[in-house]
Structure formats: structure tokens, C-alpha cells
Amino acid sequence: MAHRSFKLSRLSIPVLGLFWLAVTTLPFLFVVFTSMKTLQETYTNPVWALPESFSLDNYIRVIEGSYLTYLRNSAFVITISVILIVIVSSMAAYALARLKFRFNTALFGLIVAGMIVPLHVTLVPVYLMTRAMGLYDTLFALIGPYVATSLPVSIFILTEFMRQVPRELEEAALLDGCGPFKIFAKIFFPLSTPGISTVAIYNGIMLWNEFVFAYVLTSSPETRTLPLAVWEFQGQYAADIPTILAVVTLSTLPLIIVYAIGQERIVNGMMAGSLKG
């Protein structure tokens, strides 16, 4: 029997734990160390050797190149998209969770079903539409698709969340003189902060790493986002492995920094987001 050999003895737990730690981190160490080597070293020294001089030259070159443009583009697109996602989805979620109107459940079902639409089905029409609207190769081209594709999951999460808000609070606000708009702005929106932060974290990370739309809807380096930096540099520095890996590090670095600040929140946000998706 297979499970005979599977023993959770005192020894196997740390061994397994450390083994997977190695599996996870070795590629990262490979990137970091290699990115500090010179091109010459990668040809002459063995691949696992430490860099001779831990030099940051590759990084400096990349940053002095167009890295900051990509970073700024990503920050711009993601900030606007996430703000819009939060506002639009929390508004819709409030209506779906609490307002009475015809087709409420049907509409909710349809929106949730939107989660299974594969992005590739929308790719060609969105591309054509973007060209027609004259937004092709601008950062604004990305915002519409980014917000829209994030809405189903966000609305789903926030609707579930707002359904938990006690009805009594709504009634108390009614007695305090609030109409539906104030009840949303003063009660539901502030009370949904945990749900909203889940939505913001999950979508922020997914969009930060988004590739296909950015690849198809933009073309020039001035309008491209960080995931494409790697792509572009890879073409540019074809055989310069250390420099390419420096780009890989730099493109991942912003998220790692954010992650260092709030790991638990990010792990939980990512889990909640993907589970619903």
C-alpha cells in the first residue's frame, strides 16, 4: 500500500518542510545571484557559483533604461483600475445585496457567470474596439478591460460581504434620516472595508501581473506595463542572461516589497479572490 511508506514521523516533517523551501527559493536565489554576475562569468564559472563581486551594474543599467517608465505605467494603470473596480463593484454589490428590484437574482447570476468567460474570447473584439476608439497603444486602453474583467469576481465577493451587514444597521440609518444613497456611502461602503481590501489586493496583484491585454492593446515601450518590460528586455538583451534576470527581479520586486509589509492580508486576499473566481 502506498500509504504505508508515507510516515509523518518527527523527522519527516522538518525534512519535507525544508525540501519544499529549497524547491521554492532556489529559483529565486538563482535569479538574484545570476543577475549580479557579469556576462563573462556566466560563460566561464559554473552556474551555482556565487557572483565574483555582487555587482549591481546590471540593475543600474536596467533602471537607467526604461524600467521606471514601465513601473510608472503599471502604477498608473493599476491604481486607476483598482479604484474604479472598488467603486463600481461595491455600488453594484450593494444594489444586489440589499435593494429590491425585479431581476435582482437573475442579474446576480449573470454577473457571477461572467467569471467563467475566458479572456481570450474577448480579445479580438476588444482589440478591434480599442482601435476604433482611438485608444490603441495608450494606457487608457487597458483600464476598461481590466476593470470589466475584474468586476464579476469583485461583485461576487462584495455582495456576499454586504449580505452579512446586519439589517438593523440599515434600519437605524433609515431612522437617522438616510436614503439609499447615504446608506451606501455612510454605512455599507465603510463597513465593507475588509471585503474591499480583499478585492483591491486580489485584483491589484492579478492586474499587476496581467500580460495578454497589455501585450495586445499596447505596442510601444512608452505605454507598456511591467510584465511586458521583461518581455521587451528579453528581446533586447537576448543573450545577456544576467541583465534579463535583473529585469525579472526588478519586475517582481515591487510586489515582494508590498508582500513584506502585509503577508497575511495578501495571502488571504489572493486565496479569497481565486476561490471565488
Partner: protein, 311 residues
């Protein structure tokens, strides 16, 4: 100031009541309009438009192309490359379930048992999920590199020169190499999922079982694993749907090659549209993808619902 003084008159009551009722009536529309509008423009319209384009032959120039009826769909039905791609999606799904989930369960158990350091391990394990597929693809392309990559480097250093391979360049290995990277990235995700399920396992039951003389192994196989059943189904569903639309990593690492050995539906669709400029046929592939995913979603939801009612 007493409340009587600031109390509005009767006609004031009527006015504010009318205003309130009007607000109540328009509120659903106002709240839903932005979301519905965005979804219509960027999700529903493209979906329908894609389906419409699947009946058209168009190279992207001029306006709209020619209507060709079911020609694209007939072509799709006979397109061995499409079916091969779909098969690769299924292989990706099956291997993901078979490889990722068991490893994830084991790691979850490890973290659940290892009280000390489990938090820090969890945080480190999670790192791959923060990487973009492009960064990940470029990274592993370098790791798999037949000449300068560490895998072949270490193998030859160990004297296992015959084991070295062109991991991504060999049609027999390309898909497996890609699946390995996908697993590397996603195992931590499922691990956290299982870990959450395990930590919700009631302590009293473990303690009661201990009192009844059950060994750690029995507790795991007889109590904890059955407890994970529901999570397992959720995970399998996620893997399945995710695998059907997988794109980024494969596109970056192999572009679907060599010799279409790692082609999946999405990469095939992408090449058809943006390399061969067959917008119509590309849309046919995309629509087919959508129908396949929809069918799988519906079926698996049905199945898992049945499971839930039975259990």
C-alpha cells in the same frame, strides 16, 4: 430648541417622502449602471461579437470580412491541431490535479504539524504566486536552458551527462517541462487552501481519537483526509477551469512549440489571430474555448452539487 419647532409641516413630510420614494426607485439603476455598462461593453459585447466573427473570414484589413457560414466551424471540427491543443489542455488539467493536489496536501499537513516556523514557511512558499507569468517564464527558460541552465549544469557536474536534455526544445519534453513550472507556481496556492481546511479541523475530534487509542497515521487517513474532501473538489474544479484557459506561461516559455508540442487552445487561438491574421477562424477557436469551459463548469458544478447532497 425643541423637536416640535424643527418638525416639518405636513406638506413638508409629503415632499420629502416623495423625494425618498423617487430615490428608492432610481437607486438600483444608479448603483448598477456603471457595472452593467462596463460588463456589456467589455464582456458581453465582445463575447457575442466573437461568436459573430466565428462565421466570418477576415484578415483584419478592410471592414468586417466575408460571411462564410459554418465554414470555420467545419474547419475546426477537422482541425487536428485544435484537437491536439485541447488534448494538451486536458493533459495539463489531469497532471495538475494528479501532481499538484497530493503534494499540496502533504505540504499542508507538514505546515499544520510544524507549529514552529510554519508561518514563515507559508509566507515563503507563497512567493511564486506573486510573480507575473512573464517573469516566471523567462526565469524558467533560463533554468531549463540546455547550455547555461542550472539543471543541465548540475546534472553534468554530477556525471549524469546522459540525463541532460533540451527541456523546452524537445517535443517529447516541452509540455511536461511547462507543467512542472505550473505546478511549482500553484502548489503553494492549494497548500494554503488545504491548510485552511486542516486548521478548521476540530481539535476535540483529534483529542477524542487520541483517547480512543488512534495513532497519528490513523487520524490522518481516517479523519483528516476525509475532512478535506470538499476542499479537494473545490481545488479540482479550480484546476480544471484554470487549465482550460491557460496561456501566459506557455506563450512566454515555448510559444506553443516546438512543433506544437505544448500548444494549448489559447496559444493556438492567439497565433491564429495575431500571427496568421485569421480573425474569423481565431474567433471560432475562442468561441469553442468558451463553450468547452462553460460545459465543463456546468457539468462539474452539477457533479459537485450532487456530491454535496449525498455526503
Amino acid at each position: 430648541m425643541s423637536s416640535a419647532e424643527i418638525a416639518p409641516t405636513e406638506s413638508g413630510h409629503r415632499q420629502s417622502s416623495r423625494r425618498f420614494r423617487r430615490a428608492q426607485k432610481v437607486a438600483p439603476f444608479v448603483f448598477l449602471a456603471p457595472a452593467v455598462l462596463l460588463l456589456l461593453v467589455f464582456l458581453l459585447y465582445p463575447l457575442v461579437s466573437s461568436f459573430r466573427l466565428s462565421f466570418v473570414s477576415w484578415n483584419g484589413l478592410g471592414d468586417g470580412g466575408d460571411f462564410v457560414g459554418f465554414q470555420n466551424w467545419v474547419r475546426l471540427a477537422h482541425d487536428t491541431l485544435f484537437w491536439r491543443s485541447a488534448l494538451h489542455n486536458i493533459l495539463l488539467a489531469v497532471f495538475s490535479v494528479v501532481v499538484q493536489l497530493p503534494i499540496a496536501v502533504v505540504l499542508a499537513v507538514v505546515l499544520d504539524e510544524a507549529s514552529k516556523g510554519s508561518r514563515i514557511l507559508k509566507i515563503l512558499y507563497f512567493l511564486p504566486l506573486l510573480m507575473s507569468s512573464v517573469a516566471l517564464g523567462v526565469l524558467f527558460k533560463n533554468i531549463y536552458d540546455p547550455n547555461f541552465g542550472p539543471i543541465n549544469g548540475i546534472l553534468s557536474e554530477l556525471g549524469l551527462y546522459s540525463w541532460t536534455q533540451d527541456w523546452l526544445g524537445d517535443p517529447r519534453l516541452a509540455l511536461a517541462s511547462v507543467i512542472a513550472v505550473v505546478s511549482w507556481q500553484y502548489i503553494p496556492f492549494y497548500m494554503v487552501l488545504f491548510l485552511a481546511a486542516l486548521s478548521s479541523f476540530p481539535r476535540e475530534i483529534t483529542e477524542a481519537a487520541r483517547l480512543d487509542g488512534a495513532s497519528g497515521r490513523t487520524i490522518f487517513w481516517r479523519l483528516k483526509l476525509p475532512h478535506l474532501q470538499g476542499t479537494f473538489r473545490t481545488a479540482a474544479l479550480l484546476v480544471l477551469i484554470g487549465s482550460m484557459r491557460y496561456f501566459d506561461l506557455i506563450y512566454v516559455m515555448t510559444g506553443g512549440g516546438p512543433e506544437n508540442a505544448s500548444e494549448v487552445m489559447a496559444t493556438y487561438m492567439y497565433r491564429t489571430v495575431f500571427a496568421s491574421f485569421e480573425l474569423g477562424y481565431g474567433s471560432t477557436i475562442a468561441s469553442a474555448m468558451f463553450f468547452i469551459i462553460m460545459a465543463i463548469s456546468i457539468v462539474s458544478l452539477r457533479v459537485s452539487q450532487r456530491f454535496e447532497t449525498e455526503v
